[in-house]
């Protein structure tokens, strides 16, 4: 119960910090990019994916989903933690009769939920774009949801790590840089193979190991989340 109340409090705290703006910017930006991509060479794209227009659109959007999810996770976690850092509120927050587990758990759940909203928006916006482009068939909602939520599951380890680093460090440049670097490497990561965690978002939608990659993402994400929780539980409040 304490967790739910902490979550509501965190939801209030993030108003006006630009977080909701980012949640909308990500999916709408990706779709704007694809509408230009299709708009400039409509005939070519429609011919190229004539047999499966929805699959072709998903494939094109998917190219940028890992990079966008990683960036979103990094920035959202940094901003959520920044609310407490900027006002030096950790001491006050932790002096309240609330368990540290609930404080950390609420922030983790909030970050995960915000990214999930973003993913849902991406699926919906892709469906709208496909209809506007005149694909002629009903949107395959199951596939479109998989297009955004399978990479989301594969990217969860980075979410857990980003929140851990952002909460632990007062100066946000290191967590943000690590997250940005992870995002920028991710389009090239699949060349390094399935064992490399940054390739999991892509391989959880495409390739032979989809279910395994999703499970690996959730598993490693949960493990890093619990590690962060344990560390936060014992950590001193040394920052002013």
């Amino acid at each position: 119960m304490m967790l739910v109340r902490a979550l509501w409090a965190d939801l209030l705290k993030i108003r006006g910090k630009g977080i909701w703006f980012l949640i909308f910017l990500g999916p709408l930006g990706l779709i704007a990019m694809q509408s230009l991509n299709y708009g400039f060479r409509y005939d070519y794209m429609m011919r190229r994916y004539a047999t499966d227009p929805w699959g072709g659109l998903a494939e094109n959007v998917m190219m940028f989903v890992p990079i966008a999810i990683y960036l979103g996770m990094t920035l959202v976690c940094s901003l959520i933690a920044g609310v407490e850092h900027q006002t030096s509120a950790w001491k006050q927050l932790l002096a309240l009769p609330i368990s540290r587990k609930a404080v950390y758990g609420a922030k983790l759940l909030l970050a995960a939920a915000l990214l999930a909203v973003s993913c849902l928006l991406l699926s919906a916006a892709t469906a709208v774009l496909g209809l506007l482009l005149g694909f002629g068939t009903a949107p395959p909602f199951g596939m479109l949801l998989r297009m955004s939520f399978a990479p989301y599951a594969g990217a969860l380890p980075v979410l857990a790590l980003a929140l851990w680093l952002s909460v632990t460090m007062r100066n946000q440049s290191l967590p943000v840089t690590i997250g940005v670097a992870a995002a920028l490497i991710s389009p090239f990561a699949p060349q390094l193979g399935e064992w490399f965690p940054l390739s999991w978002p892509l391989f959880s939608f495409a390739g032979a190991l989809q279910a395994a990659m999703i499970a690996a993402g959730i598993g490693l994400g949960a493990a890093i989340g619990l590690l962060g929780l344990a560390h936060f539980h014992r950590k001193d409040v040394d920052e002013g």
Binding site: L71, L75, V180, I185
Partner: protein
């Protein structure tokens, strides 16, 4: 001029006291690792410098260089955003244009070091790969410099954004949303010459028709519109904003 040099010395002190300047190593090191691992083809030929530079530039110049420009711009403004630093700094007898120019120069300096590190990385990767042909100094230096110049408009825009927003996130999100489309835009011969964020890569890797590795790094229209033009616009806007800004 002496005011400006003093401000520059101040920026240098602030930068190198904090560990963030170490970020200049991230991208050249990654590019060097890529250069050492890249495959030149199946026939086992020793490879050549233009191909090696192209392989190393893809990640570095397409994504990292524009993003680093934004991160460094945010970093030089962060010192002042934290703890009311703007009030302290601007209460001193300094002119705002000098402060602006010093911050801009500091960011450009960091990016220049980044490019020099890439040069060293290219040489090291060539050694590891066993490239036998002589190092094309003139062409490589021209391309590294052109790619650095191509970052100027991005630095100017990001400096303006970072002066305006105290948070790290929004300028970065702005920069990234302009940089990521590079992955699509560099494929388009029609749009790419006019898109400022694509210029660092285009300067490094020849893409257009009839543009060999040893020819001029950027077509003239890119230089006029996408680099010089957008730099003037962004720098003027940022400077005017900063002069008028209430701290």
């Amino acid at each position: 001029m002496s005011r400006f040099l003093q401000m520059l010395a101040v920026e240098r002190l602030k930068l190198f006291r904090s560990p963030v300047w170490l970020l200049i190593f991230v991208s050249p090191l990654l590019a060097t690792a890529i250069g050492m691992m890249v495959n030149f083809g199946t026939d086992g030929s020793p490879g050549d410098w233009p191909t090696l530079l192209a392989a190393m530039s893809l990640l570095h110049a397409m994504l990292f260089l524009p993003i680093m420009a934004g991160i460094f711009a945010a970093v030089v403004c962060r010192f002042e955003h934290v703890g009311g630093g703007w009030k302290q700094l601007l209460a001193l007898p300094v002119s705002r244009p000098a402060v602006y120019a010093a911050k801009m120069t500091a960011v450009l300096g960091l990016l220049a070091i980044c490019q020099l590190l890439l040069l060293a990385g290219l040489w090291a990767a060539g050694l590891v790969q066993g490239v036998t042909e002589p190092f094309p100094w003139a062409a490589v230096l021209t391309r590294l410099c052109a790619s650095w110049f191509a970052c100027w408009p991005i630095v100017a825009m990001q400096l303006g954004a970072s002066l305006g927003w105290s948070s790290f996130g929004i300028p970065l999100a702005l920069n990234v949303s302009f940089t990521v489309p590079n992955m699509l835009i560099v494929n388009s011969a029609k749009i790419a010459p006019f898109y400022p964020w694509a210029q660092p890569l285009l300067a490094m890797v020849p893409t257009g028709q009839g543009q060999g590795f040893f020819s001029s790094p950027l077509p003239l229209e890119s230089v006029i519109f996408a680099v010089a033009g957008s730099f003037l616009v962004f720098a003027a806007a940022g400077l005017i904003y900063f002069i008028k800004k209430e701290v």
